[in-house]
Structures are given as C-alpha cells and as structure tokens.
Amino acid sequence: MQNDIFEKLGNNLFKQLDFKDFDSKELRKMLFKMLLIRKAEEKISDNVENGVIKCPCHLAIGQEAIPTAISELVEKNDKIFGAHRSHGHYLSLNLDTFSLFAEVLGKVDGCSSGFGGSMHTIDIKNNFYGSVPIVGATIPIATGAALANKFDKNGSIAVSYFGDGACEEGVLHESLNLASIMKLPIVYVCENNLFFSHLRIDLRQPDLFTSRYAKAHKVESLVIDGNNLLELTKTLKYIISKIRKDPKPFFIEAITYRWKGHVGHRDDNDVGVKRSEDLKFWKSKYPIKRLTEGMIKNKLISENEILEIKNEINHKVDSDWQKALESKFPTDNLLIEKVYS
C-alpha cells in the first residue's frame, strides 16, 4: 500500500517545511495549538481506556495540522462545521480543553451542556457551528451556512470538514453541485486519511483522490500535504482571501493519516487491513515532529523552549481534566426541556 500511495500521490507531496513567510511568534502559537490538541486527545484516549469516558470518541492524533492552519484564517461570522472526528477542529478555534473534557464526560459545563458527548461539539462564539457523526451530514448544512453568508454579503465563509469516507455519500455530490451553481463561499476540507473506519480507500474507491468529485462539479480544487502545517497555512490563506472577495466554493484535499483506530484508544493497526508498516512511515511525516524539527533547525525555537510549552500544556490539560471531573451532570428536568423552544 505504502509504495502505491507514493506512486499515486507523487514524490512531491512531502516537502521540507518552508519557514520563509512565518515569524517566530506565529509559529509558536500554531505549535502550541497542535501540541494542545495532541495532549488533549491523549488525555481522552487514556480515560477511554480506563473507562472513565463512556461515550464513543474518534481521535485524530496525526491530523493536527489541518484544523490548526484553518483556525488561523478564521474571521468574525465565518461558520465552521465538523463531523465525528472533530476534537481538533473544536480545540483549534478556542483552545478550550475544559469544555471539551466536560462534554465527553456528559457534564453540564460541556460545550453542549452535556447533551452531545464527543460527537456533538459546538462553540458558536468561536465560529464552530457544530459537529455530528452521521457521515456527510454537515456537508449540505455547511453549504446552507454559506448561502446565509452570501445573503449577508459580508465576506464571511463556511468551512465543511469531512473525510474520504464521506465522499462516498451522495450528499457530497448534491452539495458540490448546489454550491457551484449558486456560487457559495465555502471551503470543503476533505481530510483524506486513507481510511473509512477499518477499510482502506483503495478497497472502496477506484481512485485515491477525492478531489475528482469537485472537478466534476466545476469546483476548483487542490491536493495538498495535510501534514505540512506551513504549506497548508500559506495555501489556504490565498484560497480563503480569494473566496471572501469573489464568493465561490473551493475543495481542498489534505492527505493525512490517523494513528489510532476508527474509534476509541486502541491503535487497531491490523484490524481489517494491515497498516503497521504504513503507520511507521506516517509517524515519520507527523506534522508536530516536522514543525518542531524545522523550527529547531532554523533556530526559531530551542529544545528547552519546546519543553516549557509542553509543561504549560500538561498543566492546563491536567487541571482542566480535574475541573471537568468535578463538574455536575445535567439535571433530570433538562431531558425534556431541551426538546423544543
């Protein structure tokens, strides 16, 4: 599989990080975000394993670069929608580990007041309009949010996150067609991690690239290294600023890889399809590793400073987790009170 992917993606996909247009402050901010997402997901993983967290958690360790890049480009009134694997999407926008932890524990201080769990996160104040686990369901919803943006005529955009699995749902095709014909300001972000649940993309689709669906609907598209934070940031900055001025959809296909199994704390390396060898390769292309090594090499940060950031994050994650454990469960009356307005 590994060799096939190289042939098809081309050897040019994985480039050295190019630090030319980034200053140290900006880079540290993004590094902090990626490390925080990673640490938060590890905390969740550990507590799924020890049984404290009961709800299904889909972890995105390995995919931290994509939401980090997008979160840096968000403006007021933008509307972002996630899916089942959205902890990173959420945290990239608000760094709020407490409300995420409380939510996965079903506590009233959670971002969805304890009614959503891991699969239903929301923070409208910080542009995150919701994540849901029905595969592909937020694609037309984000498209409709882009229609609202178009009515508002204020240069705001919608972002729809989904995976390569969702590209097998018919609703993607309907949404791309609608966005194209109506010229809606939306970025479709396909995080192509090469897997749906346990099944590899080459066993489900005749082609590795999901962006072919965009081409069919005359939606501009681009395939990109989803583990290269700086290339993602630079490219998306250009695309998004273009869409703000001239509303239309764009489809970005970010190739990446998740380390964990489909759901839960296990690696599920050789469940269904053997992927241990692939994982070894993808760990060498890990976005945080590439960023830190590049920053050190370019003298933009020292080993010691990275350690300090990690310590700060560990402290935040541990104390937010403790606070979330102490938060209360929703009261019984809320079960019915939240059904209607």
Binding site: S112, I134, P140, G144, A148, F151, K338, Y340, S341
Partner: protein, 329 residues
C-alpha cells in the same frame, strides 16, 4: 370578512412572510414553474426575485440540508417538497439533524427550518406519488408537524410554522386547495407553541377527530346526520399534541372515532385513541373507540382499487351510526 380559498391562504402567507421578514426565503423544486406547486406560490419569484424564491436542482437532501444550515445561521428558510414521497430522500436532514439540533447541542443552537410537504394523491398516481406519512414525522421528538384543514389555518399556521423557533414539517393537501371559508382580512399571528386541536363543531353524542383532509371527510360525513349531535375536532398540530381538548370532549360524549387518511399500523389514529384511553375512566365509554384509516397497503393505481383505498365519507357516516347504536355490556 372575505372568502378565502385554501390555496390562496397559502399564497397569502408567502406574501406576508416575504413582505415582513427579510430573513425568510424559500427553496425547492418547481418554484419558477407554473404547474409544480399549483397556485400556492404563483409568481412569487417575479415579485420577490429569484434570490429569495429559489428553484433548485433535483437534490432533496442537499437542498434540505442547505435550508437546515441557513436556519442554523439565523435565516428562516422554507423548503418545498412538491410531494411527500420525494421528501423521504431528505429524511436524514429532517430527522437526524434539524429535529435533534437543539437537544444534542444542549440548547446552544437550533435549526428552525420549515419543511413544506405537499400531499398529492388520487388520480391513479400510485404507490410513490400518494403518500402522507405524517405519523412517521410526528413520531420524532424535536420536530413539529402541522396539518391544516381550514383555509384560515393554511394561511396563519404556515406563518406560525416559519416563525417558530423549532423545525416544522408543514403538510398541506391538494385535495383541500379549493375549500373556502369566510375569514377576517387580517392575519392572525399565532405562536405555534399555543396551538391546540380546534373544535370545528360542538356536540355531545360522539367525538370525531380528523387530521388535515380527513377533517373534511368528517364534515362531509355528518352532513347527512342531522339528528346526531357530533363534536368534530381538527387536530392541526400533530407533534407535540395537547390532548386535553379531545379528552374533555370524550368525557362529555363517551364515544370516539378518529379518521386518518394514512395507514393504521403505528399511526396517529392509534396514538390518539390510546392517549385518550389512558386518561379517562373506561366506564365512561358508551361504545368502543374506532379508527378509520387507509388499508395497510401501498396506494394502488387502478381506479376501482383506488375507490376502496381512500376513505369515503359514507364509511364514516356508517361507523358513526354503528357507534351510536352500539351497546357495551
């Protein structure tokens, strides 16, 4: 006062909403066509522009999802499904998404879109062009289901549905489009949360409950029963239901017939009867409750079968007489 036709009531509601609510827009198939949605949306695109009255690709789930998304973003969209049958392609967006959006996000967001589904049957259209399925949708917590029988309700409850802060399935029936009623000129702005079943006619011998078009069947059926004092109740809002009006009525009459133009199994007629039975003293029934529904079969195309498939007012008349004459030992 003026005479209002049911179809004109719907059209008037659209004019009202487009005139008074800039966050309101409509989207769906056939909106720029003169024949798709009958006269209920005639020339709206010409008056209000094709940006707010949007004819759409043949993409039920995509378009419905877009309306759900726009409603989450603060707009008040209404999606038109010219036939209920085709709306089934959009059920994920209605049932999994819109209906649950408020609850699953702990009240932090909501998806107050309106899904207008037109019931369009008869005329040998068959199994996939004739469904109503209102009981299906009324099963879903978070979703409101409105089925107007009267021209005034068609007008005023359409406005209520759109302005509600909850997602609403609004079902109007083509068999009612030519019904007429004398109404006040002005719209009555009704909060959908306050809507209860409507007593169309007071009486004390038997309670007859209808839903949408079946309320008309009941009114036609009692025309020939001048000697029987029937109380007729039009349900109007199918979810959530305020049962107090029906329970009070059955406590008074001791007899209950529910007429529903949909299938019997797990249907709204059964739901109404069971909810009433749970609340009243069994001894106060003077006859067994009765439901009159479609046969549990897909809609046929052949005319003679269609004639026995749909509910005939005569059947209702006979069941009323049976119920009045029945003696419970």
């Amino acid at each position: 006062m003026k005479k209002l036709k049911y179809s004109q009531g719907i059209l008037d509601a659209f004019h009202y909403l487009l005139d008074h609510h800039k966050e309101f827009f409509v989207i769906g198939q056939g909106l720029w066509s003169p024949w798709y949605v009958g006269s209920t949306m005639k020339d709206l695109d010409k008056k209000y522009g094709k940006e707010r009255v949007i004819d759409s690709p043949v993409s039920e789930i995509g378009v419905t999802g877009a309306a759900v998304g726009a409603s989450i973003a603060g707009y008040k969209p209404l999606v038109v499904h010219p036939r209920v049958d085709f709306m089934l392609l959009a059920v994920d967006q209605i049932v999994n998404q819109a209906a649950k959006w408020r609850h699953m996000f702990g009240g932090k967001s909501s998806a107050p879109a309106t899904f207008r589904a037109i019931i369009n049957r008869g005329g040998e259209q068959g199994a996939q062009h004739s469904q109503s399925l209102h009981s299906w949708f009324a099963h879903i917590p978070g979703l409101k289901v409105v089925m107007p029988y009267s021209p005034k309700d068609a007008r005023d409850l359409l406005i209520s549905s759109v302005l509600a802060d909850d997602p609403v399935v609004f079902m109007d029936d083509r068999w009612l489009y030519d019904e007429e009623e004398s109404v006040e000129n002005d719209f009555e702005l009704i909060d959908l949360r306050q809507v209860k079943p409507n007593i169309l006619k007071e009486g004390n011998q038997i309670t007859l409950v209808g839903i949408g078009h079946s309320s008309k069947i009941i009114m036609d059926a009692i025309g020939s029963l001048e000697n029987i004092s029937a109380e007729v109740i039009d349900l109007r809002l199918l979810n959530p239901i305020d049962y107090s009006v029906i329970i009070d009525s059955v406590n008074k009459t001791g007899r209950l017939i529910v007429v529903d133009g949909d299938w019997s199994s797990c249907g709204i007629a059964s739901e109404i009867i069971s909810s009433v039975c749970e609340e009243i003293n069994p001894k106060s029934f003077k006859s067994k409750p009765v439901k009159i529904t479609l046969t549990d079969a897909p809609a046929p195309t052949s005319k003679p079968l269609e004639d026995i498939y749909y509910i005939n007012p005569k059947t209702v008349t006979n069941k009323i007489l049976d119920s009045i004459n029945e003696k419970i030992d």
